[in-house]
């Protein structure tokens, strides 16, 4: 029988064995794995509570081996606030999409950030409503065709793509906000580092932390996974530049 000298890759302990419900080429799975790896590495699984959203990741509470719930559409930051205020020594995070966080839940995310609520938000921005079938999101790019902007998003009628990371970084309660993507191994590593920093900010009690991950939706974009990845890099990053928008963790973690 072969013996194992060194394990170089394995399923993170914080992921459950339940099969993901995501489409091929969707980035939710990568980000789930990164969160689970970070939770394992920080050794916080036994004291972490997660709040799943409404959207494609509505089942996320089952994909993690953590105590969890699913909030009403957009309300995850308020639910997480209640949990954190009740149990201040636990780690609480929300996982939200762009329809959830940047449209119906704008009030909740803005005020959670503004209170410096000591929670972490992982924000998946794929410029479209996934679960309901590809409708226009507040983050849909100008000219982008969706089922509710069939002629392309037009600013006079539909306004402009909303940049949540930039908006929230103006608030004094925000401790750490970064926008990343997971299109290459290097970007995956950067995203994991950002997620880790966001959780560390919470562990240190520094306030609100968020990582926005630009993600693909090949199904609703009508592209192959490879085309979608290319489209993301070439188009989404122009409207949603990558980077760190606020970082009050320096010297603290």
């Amino acid at each position: 029988m072969a013996t194992v000298d060194k394990i170089v890759a394995q399923m993170p302990k914080s992921l459950s064995k339940i099969e993901f419900s995501y489409c091929p080429g969707c980035h939710h799975g990568i980000v789930h794995r990164l969160i689970a790896e970070v939770i394992d590495e920080l050794g916080i699984a036994g004291r972490t509570l997660m709040v799943a959203p409404v959207g494609c990741s509505v089942f996320a509470y089952n994909f993690f081996d953590l105590d969890g719930t699913v909030a009403a559409h957009g309300r995850a930051p308020a639910v997480a606030t209640g949990m954190k205020r009740a149990l201040p020594d636990r780690i609480v995070f929300t996982y939200q999409g762009d329809g959830d966080l940047a449209s119906i839940g704008t009030a909740e995310i803005v005020h959670a950030a503004n209170r410096g609520e000591n929670i972490t938000t992982i924000f998946i921005n794929n410029a479209v409503y996934g679960m309901t079938g590809g409708q226009m999101a507040p983050t849909t790019l100008l000219g982008q065709k969706t089922t509710t902007s069939p002629y392309g998003r037009e600013p006079k009628a539909n306004g402009y793509p909303i940049r949540m990371s930039e908006m929230l970084s103006t608030l004094d309660g925000a401790a750490y906000i970064e926008r990343t993507m997971v299109t290459t191994p290097q970007n995956v590593i950067k995203t994991k580092a950002a997620i880790k920093k966001a959780f560390q900010a919470q562990i240190k009690g520094l306030g609100f932390s968020m990582v926005e991950v630009l993600s693909t939706c090949p199904t609703n974009w009508g592209m192959t996974p490879i085309e979608a990845m290319k489209w993301l890099e070439e188009n989404m990053t122009k409207t949603f530049p990558l980077g760190v928008f606020v970082d009050r963790t320096k010297g603290m973690i």
Binding site: V51, N62, A78, M83, A86
Partner: protein, 349 residues
């Protein structure tokens, strides 16, 4: 020792004594004093007070805090209670215990800030979506309101249900002497076996109102219905006031019942035998007892600070056994004892 207290303050202090250490709220007249009292008092008892950005956020903060298995509450008034209905439906589906205080004011819409009882349907029939119920308690004095707080939390945890204390601006705003209930020792509360606290050394727990498989969701719903059945069998509360020899029974709750007690005595001085039947639980409604007593009287008069909402439950209870009349004023106008007496005399004639 009795203390002269405002209704909202008596309710708030009684809630703290009942073991509530987590309050989330948003200012709205005529109950803002309750929110203010909690802001001042919670830090003194190592509790949490948080002013939310909206009632929509409030109810979701309550959802999150309730997930941890602790005693949580909020207070609001009619328009705010409307905003909470989404979260109430989610909490009912997730079988989370919590206590809501709705200090009713005149509606619909922005309405006014005067006392009303026009949220009866919303509270007792489910203002949110889905097949759910919440226990609704209607105290008629400040003393009763203070006494009922402990029971409200106990019921919420016993059945994993939401409990609403439905009062009106009159009870919220008036002052009277109150004997505050005894302190409960929060150290003695057991952590529920469903509470989300972090899955250290145990299997992860999930609390949701969700299952995409209709047969699984049906199972959840049947579980809720079984709970509601137990509550209707065991938790009906009401008060009977001078009904033994009554020809006319007035059915009223909350402030209106308090006014009717005065009227019962005035009517009896004029030779009209009147009694009061006062539901204390508006859900579950005391249908059975009302049905029993309906057979012995000539008339039943429902009096409400609404245009006839509880009236529908009274009719269901009476079920045609006798004549059911109605008198009510709404929109923040409180019927006077004289007006109610006049309505009784009209029937007695």
């Amino acid at each position: 020792m009795k203390m002269l207290m405002k209704g909202t303050e008596a309710i708030a202090e009684a809630a703290i004594r009942a073991g509530c250490r987590l309050y989330f709220g948003y200012p709205i007249t005529p109950q803002s004093e309750l929110t203010e009292y909690m802001a001042k008092r919670m830090p003194e008892v190592n509790g949490v007070f948080l002013q939310s950005e909206s009632e929509v956020a409030t109810v979701n903060m309550l959802y999150g805090a309730a997930c941890t298995g602790k005693r949580v509450m909020t207070s609001t008034s009619s328009p705010g209670f409307s905003l909470m209905q989404e979260g109430i439906s989610y909490m009912a589906g997730a079988e989370l215990p919590a206590v809501f205080i709705n200090v009713m004011r005149g509606g619909p819409g922005l309405g006014d800030i005067q006392p009303s009882q026009s949220d009866y349907f919303q509270a007792t029939k489910g203002g949110g979506h889905g097949d759910y119920r919440m226990i609704v308690l209607a105290p008629h004095t400040l003393q009763e309101a203070a006494n009922i707080m402990g029971e409200a939390f106990d019921l919420a945890f016993k059945y994993r249900m939401l409990v609403t204390i439905l009062v009106d601006g009159m009870i919220g705003q008036m002052m009277e002497p109150v004997e505050l209930p005894e302190w409960k020792n929060i150290e003695e509360f057991k952590e529920p076996d469903w509470a989300l606290t972090g899955a250290k050394d145990r299997k992860p727990r999930k609390v949701t109102s969700f299952d995409l498989d209709p047969y699984e969701l049906e199972k959840m719903n049947l579980r809720y219905q079984a709970t509601y059945k137990k509550v209707t069998e065991n938790e009906v509360r009401y008060e009977e006031f001078k009904i033994a020899d009554a020809d006319i029974i007035v059915v009223a709750y909350g402030t209106m019942a308090r006014i009717v007690k005065t009227v019962v005595d005035s009517a009896r001085k004029e030779g009209i035998k009147v009694g009061l039947f006062r539901p204390i639980t508006l859900w579950p409604f005391p249908y059975e007892r009302l049905s029993e007593i309906a057979g012995n009287v000539k008339h039943i008069l429902t009096v409400e600070m609404s245009y006839g909402q509880m009236l529908e439950d009274v009719k269901l209870g009476v079920n045609g056994k006798t004549d059911v009349e109605f008198y009510g004023r709404s929109a923040g106008v409180v019927p006077t004892p004289m007006e109610v007496l006049e309505a009784i005399k009209k029937i007695a004639r």
